[in-house]
Each structure stands twice: as structure tokens, then as C-alpha cells.
Symmetry: C2
Subunit: 135 residues, 2 copies
DNA sequence: CAGCATCCCGTGCGATACTG
DNA sequence: CAGTATCGCACGGGATGCTG
């Protein structure tokens, strides 16, 4: 994930069925393991900034490499702003841009649905598993 | 993807930071390449059913294998209902369950955001690329 | 018609180690 | 402190071929 093409859409203004359709490309971003969590954490802290270490503390399990990669991609996408204090050692601060904040709306809807309905999905899975065993 | 663990959450009712948190697990599902498109197509057709071939026709680029896999996972998750007509050759019909339909709400919000804002993300990417070249 | 089985490759991502 | 570099592997997913 170190470098991501994210090429401009070219003739990809087509509907959802185009492999380069906007939704597919957005999901390729927020579908990566740590991205949506980073957006959520930054959205909760907004309008304050968060430093790298603070972000890592609020995202248990993330490695330095993946957090760094995730943030770099978010910055590149214009969803996050990065500010470096020129001290030694340097302090780096992150916060959502207006665009990033606007994305947290739809993401919050997804989170709400997940909180409310994932248990039903788990139930459906258990039912399917039982049916599969008693064949 | 032939088999998916999707194990019950155990003690995973924790917040977003749990690796088994509901949002993370939901994104693992709708983040797969064809899932959200299948949900959209089925939601548009609702309450009518769609046959396998009709789904494939409405999802250009999907292979039989991936469509089959995607649908099997959706059925297993209780988001899609599968009905087989016992004829020869068989006709198989799919439609969203109530749970699946409810998921289309948040997904529609994500789609709307993507349609409206992906161009800005592309612009941000181009800007970053230019800055990177003129170093 | 609606799949499942097999082969194969790209890459997301974790673990570990090093640096200005 | 806030990263980058390297290694390694599991896995998503495409191509192809077979079947009830």
C-alpha cells in the first residue's frame, strides 16, 4: 500500500457498474483495515489535532507502519491535514479537513447500522453453520 | 473467500477499537469488491427477485465465481434470500431480506458521498503527485 | 442455468529492525 | 518522536474448465 495508483477516473464517470465508479473507489479506501477507524478517532477529536502517538494510543493494535501508511494515504486524498512542528524531535499533528469531516457523516451511518444489526448477521451465520452440519 | 470464519463476537461487543468491532466486521463485508454492488442492484430491483444471470448482466465485469461467492456470503449473512425453482435446468432467484434492505440505507449515503466528493479526492491526489515530482 | 474445483498471481498487512 | 526499509505470508480475486 506504500504507493497507491488512485489514477484519475479518465472516462470513469459512468455509473456504479464501471470498475472505476466512485463508490467502488471510495470503498477501496475506507475498506482498508485502519482507515475508517482513523477517521472516526480524528472526527471525535475535532476540531483539535492529534499527534502521531496519540492516534496510535487511540487505535489499539495498529502498527507504526500501518498507521503511517494510513495517514499518508488520507493526507494524499485530502481528507487529513498534516502539520509539523519544526522542533527536535519533531511533533506532527493531524486533523480532518472539511472534506474528511464530511465523510464522517456517511461513515457514522455505517457505524450505527453495524452497532444495531451485526448481531443479527452473527445469528444468521450461526443458523447457516448449524444447517450445514446436519446435512 | 470460499469459506469465511465470521466467528461469533465472543467478547467483541467492545467499541470500535476491538479488532472484532461491529464496524470493522461490516466493512470487511461491504469492502469486498462486488458485495455493495450486488446489494445496490438487488435493492433497485426490490421487491422483485433477480435470477443469477440477470444479476451478472447488471454487474458487468463480475465472474461467475465471484458472483456466486458474493451471493453465498450474503445469504449466509442473512442479507439475501435464495429461492430455487425445482425445474431442469434450475432457476435460482435472489432478493434482499428486510435486513439487507435496511443496509442499503447507509450504503446509499456512502454512494451519495462518493458521487459528490470523489472528484475532490482525485484533485487532491493530482496535487500531491505534482508536489512530489517537483521536489 | 447456475454453479463448484483448480491454478495462480498481486498485494494488504503484520513483524522486525533501523534513522534524522 | 515519527517515521522508513525489508521480509514474509495469507488471502482476495481473476482465468479456465467441469457438472447435475
Amino acid at each position: 500500500m506504500t504507493s497507491r495508483p488512485a489514477r484519475a477516473p479518465e472516462g470513469a464517470r459512468g455509473d456504479l457498474f464501471d470498475p472505476l465508479c466512485p463508490t467502488r473507489r471510495l470503498l477501496d479506501r475506507i475498506g482498508t483495515k485502519w482507515t475508517s477507524m482513523a477517521v472516526k478517532v480524528l472526527a471525535e477529536a475535532a476540531p483539535e489535532e492529534l499527534r502521531f502517538a496519540a492516534l496510535q494510543r487511540r487505535m489499539p493494535g495498529v502498527s507504526q507502519k500501518m498507521l503511517s501508511t494510513t495517514l499518508r494515504n488520507l493526507v494524499r486524498d485530502g481528507l487529513v491535514e498534516r502539520r509539523v512542528e519544526p522542533t527536535v524531535p519533531p511533533r506532527v499533528h493531524y486533523r480532518l479537513t472539511a472534506l474528511g469531516l464530511s465523510l464522517d457523516g456517511p461513515l457514522a451511518a455505517v457505524r450505527a447500522w453495524a452497532e444495531e444489526h451485526m448481531a443479527e448477521i452473527d445469528r444468521a451465520n450461526r443458523l447457516s453453520d448449524e444447517r450445514a452440519e446436519e446435512d
